[in-house]
Symmetry: C2
Subunit: 221 residues, 2 copies
């Protein structure tokens, strides 16, 4: 059986495969229930490879959170919701996009760092910090649009852009929990719809009776 090398990179190197395995397995089983052997099996590598790349399980958790931050920020940076002139449009489109990708398998759309945070916030501060950096690094990308929307709509808010950005993540994280509890995605979709409605009410944008759908078309920015 040939080993994976840079000259035979059919699936990438062992480190990346382990991080991808961590992303997938931890999202479906949780961090504590995931054994190192699980990860090695899923990644198709041996334990020796694991401990060559990671000092211990905690280090892998930190690296997995960092890997998650990298890949998701690249994913959202490429998304189409940025292609709008109005900052409020971009914000609403972002949330609508988040709703859209709540689709298919549960472990495919839920948040790795949100899941890990729940488990390790006391026992593994290093992982918790990496998860927090991922979450709030992402919310930070929303703040400029929120701030711009506040100004362009001439709203004197008694809340900060950062708090609203964080609130969007709270709703999403909570929606994931509801989805896991019910086993389907409708409750999560409904909750994101409430978030969308909140944003529209906040910024005084009144739309057709269909709610989010009314501006959800592909008209323009």
């Amino acid at each position: 059986m040939p080993r994976q090398t840079k000259q035979n990179p059919e699936r990438g190197d062992a480190r990346t495969r382990l991080l991808e395995a961590a992303r997938d397995v931890i999202r479906s089983q949780g961090f504590a229930a995931t054994t190192i052997d699980d990860l090695c099996k899923t990644a198709g590598v041996t334990k020796g490879a694991f401990f060559h790349h990671f000092e211990n399980k905690e280090t892998l958790g930190v690296a997995a959170a960092a890997y998650w931050a990298e890949t998701t920020s690249a994913f959202f940076a490429e998304a189409l919701y940025h292609d709008h002139d109005d900052p409020l449009d971009r914000l609403l489109r972002y949330v609508a996009f988040r709703k859209e990708i709540i689709d298919g398998d549960l472990a495919a759309f839920t948040c790795l760092v949100g899941t890990m945070t729940q488990e390790v916030y006391l026992s593994h501060p290093a992982i918790r910090d990496a998860c927090a950096a991922s979450i709030f690094g992402h919310t930070a990308t929303l703040e400029p649009d929120i701030e711009a929307a506040l100004k362009s709509h001439e709203i004197a808010a008694d809340w900060t852009p950062a708090s609203l950005a964080a609130h969007t993540q709270a709703v999403l994280q909570g929606a994931f929990i509801l989805a896991k509890a019910t086993g389907d995605r409708t409750s999560a979709h409904d909750s994101v719809d409430h978030l969308l409605r909140y944003l529209q009410l906040l910024f005084g944008r009144t739309l057709g009776r269909n709610g989010p759908r009314a501006w959800g078309g592909h008209s323009h920015g």
Copy 2:
């Protein structure tokens, strides 16, 4: 050392003590990271007692979720937010109450069944179902007030009372995750404030510029 009996219930029986231990330990460590020995140690009983009362670890998880449902529903049934004539007042007071109890130690205010759901939704369907029953049993208690508020405010909503009730729980669950990630409660408080603002906007209640605080006094119902 005297054993605990029904005629000598100075500390309660082993079963209840194990359920209380499960509530506390699982909230701070998660389900998978909690060993049966952890629970026995915290409860002050032996492993023999554990397996006398519970078939296995999964059975304990189910029982812990059921115990959580019982105790929290009793806790909320006794709370003061019910003492208002207007159903919208009761709803807003409920959320304000939820905000108030986000205080002190993290493991003291977070939700056992939300935490467990994240970990076991695939590996232990029985526990997941018990958690779902706890969550949605609680949301069901909010629906009558939401429905009554819709009628009394003559609002034709394109959303269901059940979805709004579920949304309140999503925000709370998400707020707990943010609190665990940051290590403090301000982000959770902020998110619940956004939820309060949403409810006020939804039902067209305009209040003073202070937001939630404006109606948060102890004037009357």
